[in-house]
């Protein structure tokens, strides 16, 4: 319950977490996250790590698509570039994880700027199709630049090391993902409060008005592309350190669409939304698969019909959320929170 919540300073009003209540629950969440790996099974940890990587990638996409309003169909390509960069750096130069992570991000950001460059002259759907072209071209490079990417067979990577310490297994990896998530989420949340982030939102809402207010559209769109793909590159580095193998099949167009689905289902332009969306879209297929395995015991012959159901559900989720809940899970969460804000009193 939150009553008597008055602000006396501007600093208090501008704080990210405004009330003691929210700070308290955030603390609880943090403690739970710290305890989680000690009590969870290996499978749960594996799922948590996958979700974590998805969260980082989704936050990246949400900066570009959610905040700056530039639809990107090439996000998986940027994740892939980060992953390949990190794999090549570890394999050939033996660089440790902490150096690979920013370098993978920088490489992705470089390509992000390259893909964003046409935004000088076009926007909207035309730009969206350019990112689609980027995705297709990246995939082609992953498959065909065999001397570097290993072609279809891909690359194998040794487990990541930090300060000479080999991180192997799900438990160790959890401690890599968690700080990166916290870092990116904090950075992104604060980005939206700065001059640059405000400019992104202004561009999304009405680019012409933004330009009239003195925002250099081209420059800020490039910032958006760069920061988004930087985070995507880091997600790629995490990805390759987690799976320890990488092939072009890991980064198809469908993966880009999955990231878009995450931020749509979670909530566009909302950091909490990207987190919710990534968790939701990673867990739903798992839950569906478990349910289908359960049915398989009774009717094994119906499986051929039920497995494609996952594709249907994926599409339905996107459509249903867009038609009925366009602000996503974050909005639902907000409503629930507001309900409990004064609970048990009505007003």
């Amino acid at each position: 319950m939150r009553i008597g919540d008055f602000k006396e300073t501007y600093a208090a009003d501008e704080a990210v977490f405004r009330s003691t209540t929210s700070r308290f629950w955030l603390g609880v969440l943090f403690v739970l996250l710290l305890i989680f790996p000690f009590i969870a099974s290996d499978y749960l940890l594996y799922m948590a790590n996958l979700t974590g990587i998805a969260i980082v990638a989704a936050i990246g996409l949400n900066i570009l698509t959610g905040a700056a309003g530039q639809i990107s169909l090439g996000h998986a390509g940027f994740v892939g570039i980060g992953a390949y960069t990190s794999a090549v750096l570890t394999n050939h130069l033996g660089l440790p994880f902490l150096i690979c992570l920013p370098l993978a991000g920088l490489m992705s950001a470089f390509f992000g700027i390259l893909v964003g460059a046409p935004s000088m002259r076009m926007k909207g759907l035309y730009l969206c199709i350019t990112t689609l072209a980027a995705q297709v071209i990246f995939e082609f490079i992953f498959v065909h630049w065999e001397s570097v990417t290993g072609g279809i067979r891909g690359l194998n990577v040794p487990p990541p090391s930090i300060f000479g310490l080999k991180i192997d297994g799900e438990f160790g990896f959890y401690w890599l993902v968690l700080p990166v998530i916290i870092l990116t989420a904090t950075a992104a949340r604060n980005l939206f409060r700065t001059r640059v982030g405000r400019a992104f939102i202004a561009i999304r809402d009405r680019d012409i008005s933004a330009e009239l207010m003195g925002i250099n559209l081209f420059r800020y769109k490039l910032y958006a592309f760069a920061s988004s793909s930087f985070i995507a590159g880091m997600a790629g580095c995490l990805w390759v350190s987690h799976l320890k193998t990488i092939t072009p099949e890991h980064f198809p167009l469908h993966e880009s669409i999955r990231y878009l689905a995450m931020i749509i289902v979670g909530g566009l332009g909302n950091i909490l939304g990207s987190i919710f969306g990534a968790i939701f879209m990673t867990l739903i297929p798992e839950v569906l698969q478990t349910a289908l395995k359960f049915f398989e015991q009774f009717k094994p012959e119906a499986m051929a019909y039920l497995y494609p159901l996952q594709t249907v559900v994926f599409g339905l989720l996107i459509v249903v959320f867009l038609v009925f809940e366009p602000h996503g899970l974050a909005e639902i969460w907000c409503r629930i929170k507001n309900y409990f804000r004064l609970w048990p009193f009505k007003h």
Binding site: L125, V143, L260, T311
Partner: protein, 294 residues
Amino acid sequence: MNIFLILLTSGIAVGGIYALIALGFVLIYKATSIINFATGEFMMIGAYIFYTFTVMLGWPAIPAFIMVMAGAALLGMLVEFSILRHMLGQPTISIVMVTIGLSSILTGFAEIIWSSDFKSFPPLFPRSPIILGDVIIRSNLFWGFVVAMVTVALFAVFFKYSKIGIAMRATAGDQMASYSMGINVRTMFTTAWALGAIAASLGGLIIGNIGGVQPNLGSIGLKIFPVVILGGLDSIGGAVLGGFIVGILENIAGGYLDPYFNGGVKDVVPFIILVVILMVKPYGLFGRREIERL
């Protein structure tokens, strides 16, 4: 035999088929400003309807052909009526994502209904390859091209002379003005979806006749984007020309460059052309530059 001529002719033939599918895309975009990422899936459904009637029910080709058009029109209207009508006035990303979600739904249902196995049509045209002077073309490709061109021509005549066609062009030009002239704009949207679906499904039928049907047949639909962007999203003539350009260039590039890259050049060349064209002409070759008023 001259390899360049062979690549050129098969490129023209493929380009004609692209033109038909692109027509289906542009029809919808022009009338409703909705970019339809499910065009490829409309193609796939069309091919499957044809498969159902000819192979599973044993109908002759012509009635099955008519059923494909009827089924596609129904599908298009259903999609417009049940989903996209509610998306009017939403931001671009919502509309793009809704059609992407729709494509996923259609693929899933196709897999449930027809399974993911490879299916092929009974032979529709005489098997013997067509010989034009020096060049030999596969008969399926040649007849596919002929059917595509006839359909595109029929569509052109329809838009030029029929009452509905003129009303649709008016709606695309100015919605307010067409309202005041007594055109039912909503019906025009539905008609556009039906016609767009018909064009796409006929394209799918032709492609299915050449290479067989599978639930992922729709992924060919991605190549439509270079085609339509090249011509400019809202230009029907541009879509047709774009189809030919992409078909010819991808065939020639594929033919000459594939040995150096171990294949796959054909699939990426259209997108490279797309990026190059957009760098020079941001609204495609024939697209109208949008003038924004505040």
